[in-house]
């Protein structure tokens, strides 16, 4: 499952200097916005074939925005998104539509991501009919196959989304993503909205599917415990930028960046001990509209030095190959 095993020699997805700025507080008459919110502020990373990239960070740091940008559900402000050798950041709408089935998304909210008026069988089979593959009957058969793959009985195809539990709905969402045989699925907090008791089942489902079909995931989560379990690589994000990026096992075992270290300290240990280290990050997230000069983590960093408030550290490679954006890593 490692990046080294790439068949084509090049990564599945390569993101370069990607930015997304949201205008906020637009003037009534003038076109120019009053401020910009730099939700994603120059992110570069790769997703290897048949592997999982975990994307971690606090709420509001831009994980969802980055996830949507990667498959161009949002228009990037600048940067390159190269999917299997093709730049989809600049692809025209027709070409993009041709490619869309190769990358899919699964969302956090299992209810909101299913059309309440469409039977789940039709919901899953819909793209097949439109993208013109087989007869309606063949398409429903295919939907039935996919449903069994995600652990649901095909007899549920005629039901509506509201008749299912959260975990079942998430299985349906996964089936709907899988029907077009994607090479990449961006899963945006796919288990956070579920009961704790079913989270593990869905996480395992993601892993089983990956093993069977050999696809790649970008797995967004703020739960480092789950990321440690599913991810091959991990990218730690803070206020729109990557703070640390590397092989998940290494980064999480021995964080190089103070922010990663603080996050790791909050993971509950595998076997609950009497005392857990808690609330290792103090202070509030700075306002993303007004990102401070220098290192953006400086205001909360326990190791902050004068240089941190002056100069923004680059994301640079360390000796063991991982990258970190800290003057002292």
């Amino acid at each position: 499952m490692m990046a080294d095993a790439e068949p084509a020699g090049r990564p599945l997805l390569e993101v370069e200097a990607l930015t997304k700025h949201f205008p906020v507080g637009r003037h009534l008459l003038r076109r120019a916005p009053r401020h910009v919110l730099r939700a994603v502020d120059g992110v570069s990373l790769t997703v290897a074939r048949h592997s999982t990239l975990g994307l971690v960070g606090e709420s509001g740091c831009g994980k969802s925005t980055l996830g949507r940008l990667m498959i161009r559900l949002l228009e990037p402000t600048s940067g390159r998104i190269v999917f299997d050798g093709i730049d989809i950041a600049t692809a025209d709408p027709a070409a993009l539509r041709q490619m869309r089935s190769r990358f899919q998304m699964v969302f956090q909210d299992p209810l909101g991501s299913l059309d309440p008026r469409v039977r789940v069988g039709d919901s899953i089979a819909e793209p097949l009919g439109i993208l013109g593959e087989g007869s309606p009957k063949r398409n429903l058969e295919r939907a039935a196959q996919i449903l069994s793959l995600v652990g649901l009985d095909p007899s549920v195809m005629g039901r509506y989304p509201h008749e299912f539990s959260g975990g079942q709905k998430q299985r349906i969402s996964i089936a709907r993503a899988l029907i077009v045989s994607p090479q990449l699925i961006v899963a945006d907090e796919p288990v956070s909205a579920l009961d704790v008791s079913v989270r593990a089942q869905i996480v395992n489902l993601f892993q089983d599917v990956q093993e069977k079909l050999g696809l790649s995931y970008v797995f967004v989560s703020h739960d480092l415990g789950i990321v440690r379990h599913v991810a091959d690589h991990v990218a730690i994000m803070y206020l729109g930028k990557l703070m640390e990026y590397g092989v998940a096992r290494e980064v999480l075992r021995e964080p190089a960046h103070p922010y990663t270290r603080a996050l790791v300290a909050t993971i509950p240990p595998p076997r609950p001990l009497k005392e857990r280290p808690r609330a290792a990050i103090v202070g509030d997230l700075p306002n993303p509209i007004d990102i401070p000069r220098g290192c953006r983590f400086a205001s909360r960093c326990p190791l902050v030095q004068p240089i941190c408030r002056e100069e923004e550290p680059e994301l640079r490679a360390l000796d063991d190959g991982r990258k970190a954006a800290c003057h002292f890593a």
């Binding site: 993009l96 969302f107 909101g112 299913l114």
Partner: protein
């Protein structure tokens, strides 16, 4: 479903009871029936005889029960202006009102849906600004005034359409446009809001992520889901339409129930007033029941039982 319909039908008598009670007591408060039937030259003997005949010497509650019993038999008495049973006259006029309201509904629906969709599609662009401003302006403009303007322009100045009355479809144009103006501006804004809301739903994003064509996404996923508030809106607006039709029929001399009612009130033709109030109330109740049924048919989440 059947259960639901039966339960709703069962509430009709209660609504009717309230409507009749209000009607009855307002009528009694605003005038003595004897004055309607006998003129100034009446003798006290004639008056006493009539009071006895009409049961006016009975206690009020007995009179009300009598009034109710008549209504249940659809016996509203004879019209004072027209020499015929009041109910027959009302039923005769019902067709014209249905025609007017039906045409207005179609116009409002087309204008509202198309306007709302275009506005949502070009959100914050020129088309949206124009449509939204027109809708807001339309909301605040009294519709009867629009009716008068329309008459001035299309009937008097241009001479394209008749000012009033009935006949061919030309006669229906100005009244139905005027009546449509009672609800179309609201409908544009509601459609716009609800389409924009649904456009942000994750299942719409998902549909886009499949590379489905835009039109397909609009017709299959956005529009059906945006429909709930629009249909509910109609339920709430039926009363407004009926009120609007009274105004419109009066402006355009349209021979519907609204104009009949106004005339009957001026003439103190009580049987016709009562008959039309009850029939209109029934129609509004049934229209609301229909709206609920339609909602449950188009939305699988709504279970009526």
């Amino acid at each position: 479903m059947l259960n639901f319909i039966l339960r709703r039908l069962a509430t009709i008598p209660i609504s009717i009871l309230i409507v009749t009670a209000v009607t009855f007591f307002i009528l009694r408060l605003t005038g003595d029936p004897v004055e309607l039937y006998l003129d100034i030259t009446r003798t006290p003997e004639q008056e006493a005889l009539l009071r006895q005949e009409l049961g006016l010497d009975q206690p009020l509650i007995v009179q009300y029960l009598q009034f109710l019993a008549d209504i249940v038999r659809l016996d509203f008495g004879r019209s004072l202006q027209f020499q015929a049973p009041a109910i027959d006259i009302v039923v005769q006029r019902l067709g014209a009102t249905f025609q007017l309201i039906g045409a207005a509904l179609v116009i409002a629906l087309v204008v509202g849906l198309v306007g709302g969709l275009v506005s949502a599609r070009y959100k914050d662009r020129t088309a949206d600004m124009v449509i939204s401003s027109l809708a807001v302006a339309g909301q605040s403009m009294p519709s009867f005034w629009l009716g008068i303007l329309l008459v001035q322009l299309f009937a008097l100045n241009l001479g394209w359409l008749p000012t009033s009355g009935t006949g061919g479809w030309q006669h229906l144009v100005l009244p139905s446009v005027t009546l449509a103006a009672f609800i179309a501006p609201n409908l544009v804004l509601i459609t716009r809001t609800s389409v924009l809301e649904i456009t942000d739903e994750l299942y719409v994003t998902t549909a886009r992520s499949k590379g489905l064509p835009r039109l397909r996404i609009l017709l299959r996923h956005i529009l059906p889901n945006a429909l709930n508030p629009i249909i509910s809106f109609f339920g709430l607006q039926v009363g407004r339409l009926v009120g609007g039709s009274v105004v419109t029929e009066t402006i355009f001399a349209w021979p519907g129930i609204g104009r009949l009612m106004i005339g009957a009130i001026y003439q103190r033709d009580v049987p016709v007033v009562v008959a039309s109030v009850i029939i209109v109330a029934l129609a509004i109740i049934i229209a609301n029941l229909l709206v609920d049924l339609i909602l449950s048919v188009v939305d699988p989440r709504i279970r009526l039982d």
